[in-house]
């Protein structure tokens, strides 16, 4: 993708939470880019700073140092009260826990962010209906979130993220609360969105299946992106783990790596099941 538009550009970004003894460096001088039409997956252990990258990229959080550009706008140079407009117009967020408004129907949840709630604008309603139909929810427009399945909720959330036609989609663990079938559906949807709607899609995930849809996978650890990391899949829980730091065992002459001791124990109790060999 040589002459692709760069939608998200993070340059030398550092984020320190707190101060003094309690200071935590969540991001340490990182550079990151995402282009229109691509799906970038950020992986890494818990506490690595993945959510921090997304919230800074999405103009929800200010970095301690560094520069961020979203769709050509330098958000680090903007005043606090200019940021909501960037979030609303240029960024679409997708969350692990869907985060729909419980008292609003699927249609209203999407329409709300288009019209800014100020009008019953027919065009906003039409667009919301179109998006939901595109995501296969034409029959669910009037349903409240509590009447929807997890997969349906996440699709409503995706429709909401697309509502204002932003260039950048940021998703934090979008499949973590879904079973594997719905999770896969959502991932393919995100890939389709990147390619067909020409969006930059950045996904944070632990889920190995997400690699199927990624154009690029980057590894974040201790607040830094690392290119030298060798990863493997924990065959027990499915997480992607860094080989170097993970508990491991051998079975049938093959090495297996795990996210934690618990998964290792489960594996050792029933290696045939997890090694994929006939037991």
């Amino acid at each position: 993708m040589p002459d692709r538009r760069v939608i998200l550009r993070m340059h030398a970004v550092t984020k320190v939470y707190g101060a003094g003894d309690a200071a935590v460096t969540a991001l340490d001088n990182v550079d990151f880019q995402a282009q229109a039409g691509e799906v970038v997956v950020i992986m890494g252990p818990s506490g690595a700073g993945k959510t921090t990258v997304l919230t800074i990229a999405g103009a929800l959080l200010r970095p301690t140092a560094g520069r961020i550009e979203v769709a050509g706008v330098d958000t680090t140079g903007l005043a606090e009260k200019e940021l909501p407009a960037v979030r609303r117009g240029s960024v679409g967020f997708i969350f692990q826990s869907f985060n729909l408004l419980e008292s609003l129907t699927a249609l209203e949840n999407v329409r709300l962010v288009i019209s800014g709630d100020t009008a019953t604008a027919r065009s906003a309603t039409n667009r919301a209906r179109e998006l939901l139909s595109m995501l296969g929810l034409a029959h669910r427009l009037k349903s409240l979130p509590k009447q929807l399945s997890g997969g349906e909720k996440q699709r409503v959330a995706i429709a909401r993220a697309l509502a204002n036609n932003p260039d950048l989609i940021l998703a934090d663990e979008p499949t973590a609360n879904l079973d594997s079938k719905r999770g896969r559906e959502v991932m393919h949807l995100l890939r389709q969105i990147a390619i067909e709607l020409d969006k930059a899609v950045v996904i944070v995930s632990h889920d190995h299946r997400i690699r199927e849809v990624a154009h690029r996978v980057v590894w974040l650890e201790d607040g830094r992106f690392r290119s030298d990391v060798v990863t493997a899949r924990d065959t027990v829980c499915g997480q992607v783990v860094e080989v170097e730091a993970a508990p491991m065992t051998s079975f049938n002459g093959q090495a297996f790596y795990f996210c934690a001791e618990q998964c290792l124990k489960l594996f050792e109790a029933n290696p045939h099941r997890y090694a994929g060999t006939p037991g």
């Binding site: 008292s103 609003l104 209203e108 962010v113 800014g116």
Partner: protein, 372 residues
């Protein structure tokens, strides 16, 4: 103005809470308008009689302040001669007033016994509703307030001032709420109350009522043993006597009612906001401004206030006449100015109630919604 979708949904998806906050405001509005209307009604009644007496100037013994506690004695002899020297005085008439307890079949009734001159009719019944217009010897005309409260009717006999009087007529306009006027002639009062040659008040009519104040001052200055007041002044000080002590108590109750309404509305709106904190966080995350969130909460508060006001004011208007029939002491006068003022107070209540959660809203961290 269209109410924001979120404000509407937040309000009406929680019916119970809405009912509580609307009920709280309604109760507060009802209490305030009801008490205020009660006060207005009393005020009107208490001053009404004195205002309606066809006298421009009231003269009483020094130290007398009002109609209700009328412990004044003035000699009538020589008044004619002295007043005739003042050109501006057109006419005068003596009036005997004595607060006392009358009785009917053993029931005690607080009354203002009034002895008036039937020729001038000054200080007599304001309006005759039924029966004779002028009492004869041994006869009395009672205010209809008395018949409403104690069932006194034409043909009944009531005891007052050591004698029995036959009720021959009913009048209106002489109800002081706590007591009612009964009327006999001046001569009869003189005799029954042993006030030969004395009057409680001297009532004057002047040629130019607009100059009543000046004339009253002139007469009063000439004689240190008397006090003079214009009709309006006397009505005002009678009102003050009857209700002056009520005003501070009433004020405290009104303030408490306001606080109760504010507390209920404030608490429900605050808890509603806290409960929805995550949703407000989501709205912030997807790009809504703090200003928008304030507006959502403010509109919820405003709609709650409007509903509470309509309910509370409606209750007053509907229940007012009804309670008046049940309890004769309830004299309710709903003035549109009071209702308008109450609308203003409700608005203030809702503004204050909405203000409380705004700091909470500003503090919500949208990043928190990334946590599962």
């Amino acid at each position: 103005m269209r109410v924001l979708l979120i404000a509407r949904k937040n309000l009406f998806s929680e019916r119970t809470r809405l009912a509580i906050s609307v009920g709280g405001i309604a109760l507060s509005v009802f209490l305030i308008t009801f008490l205020l209307s009660l006060f207005r009604g009393w005020n009107e009644k208490v001053g009404g009689f004195v205002e309606n007496v066809d006298a421009d100037i009231w003269i009483a013994r020094e130290g007398t302040t009002d109609f209700l506690a009328a412990g004044s004695f003035l000699p009538v002899e020589g008044v004619d001669e002295r007043l005739s020297r003042i050109d501006e005085v057109e006419r005068w008439s003596p009036l005997i007033v004595r607060p006392m307890t009358a009785s009917k079949d053993g029931t005690k009734m607080d009354v203002q016994l009034v002895g008036y001159d039937p020729v001038s009719a000054i200080g007599g019944p304001v309006r005759i509703e039924e029966g004779k217009g002028v009492p004869g010897p041994g006869e009395v005309i009672v205010d209809e307030g008395l018949s409403r409260r104690y069932g006194v009717d034409i043909g009944d006999s009531i005891g007052a001032g050591g004698r029995d009087w036959r009720v021959v007529g009913k009048s209106s306009g002489g109800d002081f709420v706590a007591s009612q006027t009964i009327f006999i002639t001046f001569d009869q009062a003189e005799e029954a109350l042993q006030m030969e040659g004395l009057a409680t008040f001297l009532l004057l009519q002047v040629t130019r009522p607009s100059r009543a104040g000046l004339v009253a001052g002139m007469i009063g200055n000439a004689d240190p043993a008397i006090v003079t007041m214009t009709g309006d002044e006397f009505a005002a000080s009678t009102r003050d006597r009857a209700l002056g002590d009520v005003i501070p108590i009433l004020t405290v109750i009104l303030i408490l009612a306001f606080i109760v309404g504010l507390a209920v509305a404030g608490l429900t709106i605050y808890t509603a906001t806290v409960e929805k904190a995550r949703e407000y966080g989501i709205l912030k995350a997807v790009g809504f401004t703090n200003g928008y969130l304030y507006r959502v909460v403010f509109e919820q508060s405003l709609v709650t206030g409007l509903l509470g006001f309509l309910l509370g004011a409606g209750l007053t208007v509907v229940l007012g006449p009804f309670t008046q029939q049940l309890v004769p002491q309830f004299v309710i006068l709903v003035r549109w100015q009071d209702v308008l003022g109450m609308a203003g107070f409700t608005l203030l209540m809702t503004l204050l109630a909405a203000y409380v959660p705004t700091r909470r809203l500003a503090a919500i961290d949208p990043v928190a919604v990334f946590k599962g």
